[in-house]
Amino acid sequence: MDSAAELRFREFVAARSPALMGLAYLLTAGDQHAAEDLVQSSLVRALAKWDRIDDPEAYLKRVMYHQHVSLWRRAFRRHETTVAEPPEKGADDATRTVELRLALREALATLTRRQRAMLVLRFYEDLPEEEIARLMGCSVGTVRSTTHRSLAKLRSADLRELTR
């Protein structure tokens, strides 16, 4: 890698780190350390072919999904995070929104990596089902059924009230 390519790499990372960290943070269910690891290992992979990547951000996201969901970085340390207990119920609307979001996080943390990744792709990245299927290497039917099951799992958690 020559110095011009390294400079381009540094500029890209500086500009896109917040987006990459945000995605990694969601994929790892709020585990800061695991999210940093995920971004770093994906960047290392991108470096290997930096000169040939047309769209670095798309490439990195793909690698991140792949690394996190398909691979098994850190064999036995499960990065399922315990989030804070939701506060007691009641109070005003603002409190209730916070309550729901905490419940959502807790519920998301109980999903499998694959389930969580699909929800992130669908709701955070706003990708169509076909694109999710392509990224995850499965059929559209699998995307639908996995999303359906994940949402059902969320609902069965503390989100029962969310649409009330």
């Binding site: 960290m21 960047l43 290392v44 850190r74 064999a75 959502l104």
Partner: protein
């Protein structure tokens, strides 16, 4: 607030809580340098150690079979230390290799009707063509790459077949043909490349009479191994010796392979995971009960200190002397040692929720470092790699 909006906003809100380290680029650049340095300097050890890689066929799609790519006594020196992956193509087009090992060839199988109420396997083999710098599909029903990846022994025509050839992988031309009187179902190089062994059969070695459409149970067919040829490549001589089937063996296919000593032959022992040994006359030399390669295991590390454990998630590596577990890996199988700190094996996809969806992966002894070498595929129905010393 509806459910979709709540989830969208909840995720966005949560993502923003991530702290963004300022040195991510530095970390990645440093890690890359470390990784590149970390893979050098183990070649000399491996040249002396006759390690061999193996590939498992997962039961379910075809009869159990083990393919062994034996190590040469004289390998490239210094041994290659680079890592090549092709995760974009399925099956791979570009070289897949880690350290001294490469995927020299790969194959897939499908069941074909024999016309007599039974089915047998039809193979599709691809081999790494040095001429074209990529994997190319071949018309052969059997293929075995010589360590060094410059020649391959092949069988032409439906198995068993009377025609064995040798392909020069630098030109992709067939340089030699051997016409046999007994038909062969497999052919393997001796590690030094001086000899071939071809096991002969009176019927298709993979033939099965299935009892159900899912091909889960079959009736026993008469076992058909008749013997084997030893072909001396230098003297250009061919000797056939009879060797009846092993009475304990449930499978039709009972191939013979060369031991690392280039002298003895062996066949898989069905019970216990060991092997039967023979001399080149077919005289039994007894059995070896614990033979890791028979079970597709990497065995002991090049420096002799560590032992790769049996297949099964998670895999583990133990200290040979103390028996202490020194590392666990989220892998299905460990096939071969790349150096004293890394192995090649089968890693599973996602959270390992489907043991058949796997990829060739290089993994460190501590399980922390993984490098995916080839694409994920269903190991029952898709291509299967065969490792060889490059």
């Amino acid at each position: 607030m509806n459910e979709d909006v709540l989830i969208e906003e909840g995720l966005r809100d949560w993502a923003q809580e991530a702290r963004v380290p300022a040195d991510l680029a530095d970390r990645a650049l440093r890690a890359r340098r470390r990784r590149r340095v970390g893979l050098t300097g183990f070649g000399a050890v491996l040249v002396a150690a006759a390690v061999t890689a193996v590939v498992t066929l997962v039961p379910g799609a075809s009869p159990e079979r083990t393919i062994v790519a034996v190590a040469p006594t004289r390998a490239a020196s210094p041994a290659p230390t680079t890592v090549h992956s092709d995760v974009e193509n399925d099956p791979p087009l570009n070289l897949v290799a880690a350290g001294p090992w490469a995927v020299g060839s790969y194959y897939s199988t499908e069941w074909a009707d024999t016309g007599r109420g039974t089915e047998t396997l039809r193979y599709t083999w691809s081999v790494y063509s040095q001429a074209e710098g990529r994997y190319v599909r071949t018309p052969f029903q059997w293929l075995d790459v010589l360590p060094g990846m410059r020649q391959a022994a092949v069988i032409e025509g439906d198995l068993p077949s009377r025609r064995i050839g040798v392909v020069d992988l630098t030109t992709m031309a067939i340089t030699r043909w051997f016409d046999l009187e007994e038909a062969a179902g497999s052919v393997f190089w001796s590690p030094d490349g001086s000899k071939l062994v071809a096991t002969t059969y009176s019927a298709p070695p993979d033939e099965q009479k299935w009892l159900d459409e899912e091909r889960t149970s079959a009736t026993g067919l008469p076992k058909s191994r008749t013997g084997f040829y030893v072909i001396d490549m230098n003297a250009e001589t061919m000797t056939w010796r009879p060797l009846p089937p092993d009475t304990d063996n449930m499978n039709g296919r009972e191939d013979l392979r060369w031991d690392d000593d280039n002298t003895r032959l062996w066949a898989a022992k069905i019970s216990g995971g060991g092997r039967w040994l023979y001399d080149t006359e077919g005289t039994p030399l007894g059995a070896e009960e614990d033979y890791p390669r028979r079970m597709n295991e990497a065995g002991v590390s090049p420096n002799g200190r560590l032992r790769a454990g049996p297949a099964g998630l998670p895999t583990r590596i133990t200290d040979v002397e103390t028996g202490e577990v020194v590392g666990r890996q989220r892998m299905l199988q460990l096939w071969a040692w790349v150096d004293d700190d890394h192995l090649i094996g089968l890693g599973c996809a996602r959270d390992c929720d489907d043991e058949f969806e796997s990829a060739l992966v290089m993994v460190s002894v501590d399980g922390e470092e993984t490098v995916q070498l080839a694409s994920y595929r269903d190991s029952r129905t898709s291509w299967r790699p065969v490792l060889v010393r490059r």
